[in-house]
Subunit: 394 residues, 2 copies
């Protein structure tokens, strides 16, 4: 058992200490994923290769790093947290695969997305396999960290999934019902559910539990993770607006096309003149472009007809649905540009940057107050991570 990070398998060319620390965590996590989901004795296994595809493309492995730093920082063993860290990373990558399908994304970590490479059916399947396979390592924790901590980690992850689903539901509901009378507090409550638990609070808490930390530490870690999550998500939403149109396959303002309720969009709607506000709400009510929205019905109709699969009743119903859908107008590129300008002229981007920076400062304050986390390279890495989250828009 070791309470330090091993040497990197590949030699990292880290330009700063945090990059070096992240590379070591990523390396340890990749090794664990290969141990858990590599080909094993059964020889080549196409599904298992695809399970490892996204994780092994790179990425920061932020969640494993948070878990590992908290566990080692509290004197725990790397072996005690690795299966959980790898599981959190697997969850995250499963959601990335499915998000890429949902968002029609073309590129992920410099390569075509999994559904572009292998088709939607296989990409749905691989994500499901990843979610399904995440249970075993969490059960193996009983042998690694003991029954009590293993059950606490399982409960933490069950809570995480429940709150994440609730956060996604809330966001979905706002878009579908075209709700917009929402303030910063509403947005932050949604982001805590959707982002903070899954990406920050649970990784931090799992690391502490694996190191044997008592229950009373959990509240402060929840506060740290909540602020980090808010700063991270607001910054992510700001970056989404700034994607370089010439960057390979990157979407410009995909959030605006989807109608996502970001902090700056909600701010712009609240601050806009009544006429502009009406126009913005009108635009947001329009669907994303495509032959018939996201249903792909006309395409489906063609394929089913070729395969002779459709009864006359079924065909009539699809045609009726198509006719019902066509009148609805879709957003145009000009609509998106106009929404963007509304946010810029209303100072909404600046407001969002300020709110994100405020939460990053709060996170730094909470972290500085954790007197039960002794000075170490792991604590330093957490401090650097807070700075990193705050600095991503600069």
């Amino acid at each position: 058992m070791t309470s330090t990070l091993p040497e990197a398998r590949s030699t990292p060319t880290a330009s700063n200490p945090l990059e070096g620390y992240l590379a070591l965590c990523k390396d340890a996590c990749d090794g664990e994923l290969e141990r858990l989901y590599g080909p094993g004795d059964g020889g080549p296994n196409p599904l298992r290769e695809l399970i490892l595809d996204y994780p092994l493309r790179g990425g920061k492995a932020l969640r494993p790093a948070l878990s590992i730093a908290m566990c080692l920082g509290l004197g725990g063993y790397l072996e005690a947290i690795l299966p959980t860290a790898a599981t959190l990373e697997l969850y995250h990558n499963a959601f990335l695969i499915h998000d890429d399908i949902e968002d029609e994304s073309w590129s992920r970590r410099g390569k075509p997305t999994l559904h572009i490479d292998h088709g939607i059916p296989i990409a749905v399947n691989v994500g499901d396999a990843m979610l399904s396979l995440s249970l075993q390592p969490l059960l193996d924790n009983v042998e690694r960290v003991g029954l009590g901590p293993a059950l606490r980690i399982l409960r933490a992850i069950a809570k995480m999934t429940r709150l994440t689903v609730d956060g996604q539901a809330l966001e979905l509901d706002w878009v579908r019902s075209n709700t917009w009378r929402l303030d910063d507090g509403d947005y932050l409550k949604m982001v805590e559910l959707k982002t903070s638990w899954y990406s920050f609070i649970t990784p931090l808490q799992a690391g502490a539990i694996a190191a044997g930390a008592p229950l009373e530490r959990m509240t402060e870690l929840e506060s740290l993770g909540r602020h980090l999550g808010a700063a991270f998500q607001i910054t992510d939403d700001l970056l989404n607006l700034r994607a370089d149109p010439e960057e390979y396959g990157k979407e410009i303002g995909g959030d605006l096309w989807e109608g996502k309720r970001t902090l700056m969009l909600l701010h712009a709607l609240r601050c806009a003149e009544p006429n502009d506000c009406d126009r913005a709400v009108q635009i947001l009510s329009r669907r994303r472009p495509g032959s018939d929205g996201e249903l792909g019905l006309s395409d489906l109709l063609d394929r089913l007809a070729v395969r002779g699969e459709l009864s006359r009743a079924g065909q009539a119903e699809i045609v009726a649905r198509l006719q019902g859908l066509q009148p609805s107008e879709s957003k145009s590129l000009n609509d998106i540009r106009w929404l963007y300008e509304l946010m810029v002229s209303g100072g909404s981007l600046k407001h969002a940057r300020d709110v994100a920076a405020g939460h990053a400062r709060e996170a730094a304050t909470v972290l500085a107050s954790l007197d039960w986390l002794p000075p170490s390279q792991h604590r330093d890495a957490l401090v650097d991570l807070v700075d990193y989250v705050n600095g991503r828009t600069r």
Copy 2:
């Protein structure tokens, strides 16, 4: 705590004892799903409504019935197995939602599939939420059945998901590599992994564990579930060939379009004259029809262009991919009819029916030999279920 089934909430009009028993189990399972995933205190929740959509449409709830019958038949309590039974049903329905996307199915239980009703993004999301939410009830088992049995059930479900994923991988690999030199034994090994654990062995074992059955009962239940799974899957594959073209939205021989290696297809290939075999293998190498296979690239290209999302480099790559794909020929309706005729003339359908009946008889023999399962309405229901699985093609 009760060891009998409650009265049905709706009055079932059961034409035979098994139907009545299944209706009671389905009712108990639906009630548990509503308790677990209903709106709760938070008011209407769109994602939670969609989680309950497929389960509440009907269906036989075969897996919960197997769990409940085994648990009550061994003197266990309904409360001890209900959360697990509901979780197995939730898993199953999550996979149905995602299978419907993958298979481009139009209808499920008499209504449009979830992705037709709400679009692919939401359908992917709802299935993920169902898979993610299945952990909590299994943890709540600690309070219901005690720590030991709760952990055994968790381990049984982790094993089930691992083997199911391996079975899907094997099937996928056969289709993608156009493998066909496979015999009944190869097919049955794949089906044991893909179907038997998930639909039969694990539900039976979980029911027994919840009733406090000792470890040594598991082997016989594995044998019972293995034979039931084989009979069930072969019959399912036979039914797939027989779908009524005038039935609402039902696919004719969808398995043939996908190139699935069924027992009868493999038998037909083994028994065919060399010329016919070559032609069949050639047909199987062709993709399913559609503008560009399953990738939907031309459609995607249109949408991304409208949204101004694509760089010149990205656009060039999609176009190159489209050109690379177009030469590949797709299966025609005549191809599918010819494959079907090959199976009929080679006696492959009869062979498959015989093998299925053989496994159903084996299952009945194993069930009859379980001297530790006392006579009861629950044991009778299991006997009837074996008959039902065997009788579905008659």
